[in-house]
């Protein structure tokens, strides 16, 4: 309640003060309600949200092109802000913010965590999305073998429906369920490349580990083939609930135009 009051107190000054940093202004107007004024994920709306909004102070981010335990690159942050996180309350801000506003708010968000102050080491950037080695020919059977080798079933179940391991917690101690490959909305993005990225970097702040070392490049792509083969077609009623969401529309629109 006090946070709400604090936000309400500064609301008039947000548009008025010309000397307020643009990034701070964009953040307070758009992000603070969930992510909190201090960037700790404890905004007034946070209590109602599952999963909880990202706590920017820890430096842990889910969707990155960097190694497990490393902070994301600026492009990673641009991507998540532009496309949002489907299946959660994080909307796609791409169509709503100018590039200048988005880049300014990224600077503001990075300031919440000291780990962004150091330059990323070369060995921390493990994926260059513009320069991925070519995807091998699809092989769902090989992917199934990888699924067995990496023991994915321990959390995701033998049928890929997830929710097997009930002890799982995310890094803030909230219970978390392993993803349901059959029907779930991929939060990191729907494309094979997105799934490949998550397998390679791990999903920060969750139990999902990085398989960069344990599985070869081809093995990870075959695993993507297998995971894609698990998708169940939507039944007639599901078309109602799976109508294109804002995130999907935004992603299409952004793909169509050059996003800097």
């Amino acid at each position: 309640m006090w946070r709400l009051l604090g936000l309400a107190l500064v609301w008039p000054s947000l548009s008025a003060a010309a000397d307020v940093d643009l990034g701070e202004r964009v953040y307070l107007r758009n992000c603070a309600m969930c992510h909190g004024v201090k960037g700790d994920g404890k905004g007034p709306a946070a209590r109602a949200l599952q999963p909880a909004p990202r706590d920017f102070t820890t430096g842990e981010y889910k969707f990155r092109s960097t190694d497990s335990g490393s902070v994301p690159t600026d492009d990673d942050l641009r991507r998540t802000i532009d496309l949002g996180v489907p299946g959660t309350e994080m909307p796609a801000w791409g169509p709503l913010l100018t590039s200048e506003e988005r880049d300014a708010v990224i600077d503001h968000i990075k300031a919440f965590c000291e780990w962004f102050e150091e330059e990323l080491y070369e060995d921390e950037i493990i994926l260059d999305p513009a320069n991925l080695p070519p995807r091998p020919a699809p092989d769902v059977e090989a992917g199934r073998a990888v699924y067995v080798k990496a023991e994915c079933a321990k959390c995701h179940g033998d049928d890929g429906r997830g929710g097997v391991n009930e002890d799982l917690e995310d890094s803030s101690g909230d219970a978390i369920k392993a993803f349901d490959f059959t029907r779930g909305t991929f939060r990191g993005g729907q494309s094979g490349a997105d799934v490949f990225r998550s397998l390679t970097t791990g999903i920060g702040g969750t139990p999902m580990p990085s398989f960069l070392v344990a599985l070869s490049h081809d093995e990870r792509w075959h695993l993507v083939d297998y995971i894609e083969s698990l998708r169940r077609p939507a039944g007639p009623l599901q078309y109602l609930f799976r109508a294109p969401t804002w995130n999907h529309l935004a992603a299409e629109r952004l793909a169509a135009k050059e996003v800097k």
């Binding site: 500064v10 003060a17 960037g39 820890t58 335990g69 919440f112 002890d167 890094s171 580990p209 070392v213």
Partner: protein, 224 residues
């Protein structure tokens, strides 16, 4: 600038304050023994998954005590700001018999840990915010630089909930982990007043003020 903006001042944790310079070390030597009157852990943690590989239970390693000498306590100079440059080490962390070995270790920032899986089952080595690797059986040793100082807890999310370890990463070179005899030795300590702190995963933390004047300072600490 609106006075209300002061309410919203972003609080960031201060960047590391330690500065390591050649020749800024000293000749002080800190020695001592960490003891406790608490009993050693005797409980057996049940193995709830992969019993064929992990067995029925593993011995708890929370409190390792022999004749009152406390093992796996990390002793360090808390908040020291100037001293010798750090030396990076090469450490290992093995997963064998479904427990981590070593259970507790300390190292300087930038040191590398070679993570190994010697078990015939998949472990995912989840070291707090530092790294989370999936390691199916047969994964080769995976080196990882520990670049951020702090206490890093290590756990396995792949169903092995009893597994735990700690890696304490320091931005300075003044730390030691006690062995079975409970003793520690920290060398090259610069002169001056320091805060000698001991940390243990179950028995807590204790700080003692000490002064170093080029010689040996012996401080025994009891954690209860």
């Amino acid at each position: 600038m609106s006075p209300f903006m002061l309410l919203l001042a972003v609080a960031t944790t201060p960047a590391d304050a330690y500065e390591g310079l050649e020749g800024a070390g000293g000749s002080g030597v800190l020695t001592g023994k960490i003891t406790t009157s608490q009993p050693a852990s005797t409980e057996k943690l049940p193995v709830t998954q992969d019993g064929e590989v992990c067995g029925e239970s593993v011995a708890a390693e929370f409190v390792l005590v022999k004749d009152g000498n406390l093992q796996n306590a990390v002793v360090f100079l808390d908040g020291i700001e100037k001293g010798a440059p750090i030396t990076k080490s090469k450490a290992t962390l093995d997963q064998k018999g479904c427990v981590y070995t070593p259970h507790v270790q300390a190292m300087a920032k930038g040191s590398s840990v070679s993570v190994m899986n010697s078990d015939a089952v998949m472990h995912n080595t989840h070291a707090g915010t530092s790294f989370n690797f999936g390691m199916p059986a047969g994964t080769p040793p995976t080196p990882k630089s520990m670049r951020r100082p702090g206490l890093v807890p290590v756990n396995c999310d792949a169903g092995h909930t009893w597994m735990s370890a700690y890696i304490y990463v320091f931005s300075h070179p003044y730390f030691a982990t006690t062995g079975a005899d409970g003793t520690y030795k920290i060398e090259g300590v610069p002169d001056g007043a320091h805060k000698l702190t001991v940390w243990h995963e179950k028995l807590g933390t204790k700080t003692v003020d000490i002064t170093v004047e080029g010689g040996e300072v012996t401080t025994d600490i009891q954690l209860d």
